[in-house]
């Protein structure tokens, strides 16, 4: 199984644009260490729409060049320590966004469109610092009505964790439709799952409605408790104690390195 995860990690080449999901949607924490071991640097992360533990650990390991995100935090454990330190040191480039702008960029990519227009943002410093976002006057109005254009976000790779896939590579994502949006927009999608089922998820209307078709899925690997210490919807809760332990340890670079070396890789 570990070799499966290492095989998946080989896709993560230096300099790729990597999309990762919000902490409650299904984070493939099992992939974090294989990616770090592979030591692919200069990653451009896209957090959909916010980042957490996995993002903090990839930054702490020195693999990240830039982060596009609406926020990075460790939930109840507060701020993300290695992200915050990297911001203070100027070690990573920031593309601060707002949640619907990330969704809009993925939606544009999903449709093969160059951009998606979006309300809000005008007058914010987010817009001021985003040279890639443009403001135009609504061409369908009689004049005026400025609106922001968000360019398509086309990640090279999306990685997430889900409860199950079938033997045919279809993945059950339930109502976490942002996972589908990420996969639609990405050139490569790598999925870890709790288990593989024999019957096709497309065989019944009930399961088909919550399935991401294999068309969009590059590789699937089994990783039981693969979101830990995050929880996985419908499966197991978040291990807040472990996240708090990480948050305390990672306050310093030394503490972070120590945690990553010595902490267990799987739940007890």
């Amino acid at each position: 199984m570990v070799s499966d995860l290492r095989a998946l990690a080989k896709y993560v080449e230096p300099g790729v644009r990597l999309a990762l999901p919000v902490d409650y949607a299904g984070v493939s924490m099992a992939m974090t260490r294989p990616i770090i071991e592979r030591n692919a640097r200069n990653l451009d992360l896209v957090c959909v729409p916010t980042g957490g533990l996995q993002v903090d650990q990839l930054i702490g390991a020195g693999l990240v060049r830039s982060v596009e995100t609406s926020a990075v935090l460790l939930g109840e454990a507060g701020g993300a320590p290695r992200f915050n330190a990297a911001v203070k040191d100027g070690a990573i480039a920031l593309k601060d966004a707002t949640c619907p702008a990330i969704h809009a960029g993925l939606m544009a990519a999903q449709k093969g469109s160059p951009f998606m227009p979006m309300r809000g943002l005008i007058g914010s410093d987010l817009l001021h610092h985003r040279s890639d976002w443009r403001v135009i006057d609504n061409p369908l109005a009689d004049g005026g009505d400025p609106i922001v254009l968000i360019p398509a976000i086309k990640p090279d790779i999306t990685i997430f964790h889900a409860p199950m896939a079938d033997r045919f590579g279809n993945v059950w994502i339930g109502r976490r439709r942002e996972l589908a949006a990420m996969a639609y927009a990405s050139a490569t999608t790598l999925v870890t799952v709790e288990r593989i089922v024999d019957e096709s998820l497309l065989a019944s209307e009930m399961s088909a409605a919550g399935a991401l078709p294999a068309l969009y899925v590059t590789e699937v690997a089994v990783a039981p408790k693969g979101a830990w210490p995050y929880g996985l919807w419908g499966e197991y809760p978040t291990d807040t104690t472990e996240i708090l332990r990480y948050a305390r340890a990672a306050r310093s670079a030394v503490g972070f390195a120590d945690y990553m070396t010595n902490a267990q890789m799987e739940p007890a």
Binding site: V48, T98, W233
Partner: protein, 256 residues
């Protein structure tokens, strides 16, 4: 015999009043006081035989009506289907600007907060945004924010169907006047006074010479809050509900 009103219960009841009349309110994942306010309003409305507002709590399975991923909340808001939202901020300034990014010069902010989340959209399109920040100090309520995650007002011609209506802190309630723009002190919570509010507020605000005190909940509202509402709150915020119940019990156990 009911113990005296907890300061946070005044906040919860004030939020319920500010939300009165809404059909659908959204609250953030780590916002137990706004969530409790929304749940109290729903309980009060249902007690009166009405349906009460729909409450969407982000990140909660129990109080989440969405099936289209995390984009759906924003799509919903963009169509005007969300009437109210509670928004916090690392810094809030006298023009209603909110900073959720950090202090000092961006991007290398010496103090970095998580980020702007959905604020740079929801603040524009949700009609009734309540700014909520318990900490009422000159570092939280500043003259001018270091970074505008989302602005309090927009220039003429910019699409803006929503924005702030009020700012609630642990010390006072302000109303937002978007024509000035600026805050008007509406009422002061028990135990605080105007001089103290002025010292604790980094921006100028309008006020009466003798401001009102924030109303306390009546016994029926308080009973509803301490019964049904804390039970509901506990489903999503167990630690907060337990803490509230401990703290309101304390004076009683002390007396016995």
């Amino acid at each position: 015999m009911m113990s005296e009103v907890h300061p946070r219960e005044i906040l919860i009841c004030t939020i319920a009043k500010l939300l009165d009349g809404v059909r659908h309110v959204a609250v953030g994942a780590s916002s137990p006081i706004p969530a409790a306010g929304a749940m109290l309003l729903r309980a009060l409305r249902q007690q009166a035989g009405e349906k009460g507002p729909r409450i969407s709590i982000l990140g909660s399975v129990e109080h989440n009506f969405f099936t289209n991923g995390s984009a759906e909340l924003f799509d919903c808001a963009g169509q005007g289907r969300i009437d109210a939202f509670c928004l916090g901020g690392g810094q809030i300034d006298g023009r209603g600007n909110v900073n959720l990014v950090g202090t000092g010069d961006y991007p290398q902010t010496p103090v970095r907060w998580p980020g702007s989340f959905g604020s740079a959209y929801l603040y524009y399109v949700v009609p009734r945004v309540i700014l909520f920040r318990e900490e009422h100090t000159p570092r939280a309520l500043v003259e001018k924010v270091d970074f505008i995650s989302t602005p309090g007002v927009s220039n003429d011609g910019v699409y803006r169907s929503g924005g702030p209506i009020a700012l609630l802190t642990s010390k006072a309630l302000f109303r937002f006047d978007k024509t000035r723009p600026g805050f008007d002190l509406q009422s002061i919570h028990p135990g605080h006074d105007l001089a103290g509010i002025k010292d604790a507020t980094g921006f100028q605000f309008a006020h009466e010479s003798q401001p009102e005190q924030t109303a306390l909940p009546n016994p029926q509202t308080l009973a509803l809050l301490r019964g049904r509402v804390y039970d509901e709150v506990a489903e999503t915020y167990p630690d907060f509900a337990a803490q509230m119940r401990r703290e309101i019990e304390r004076p009683l156990s002390h007396a016995s």
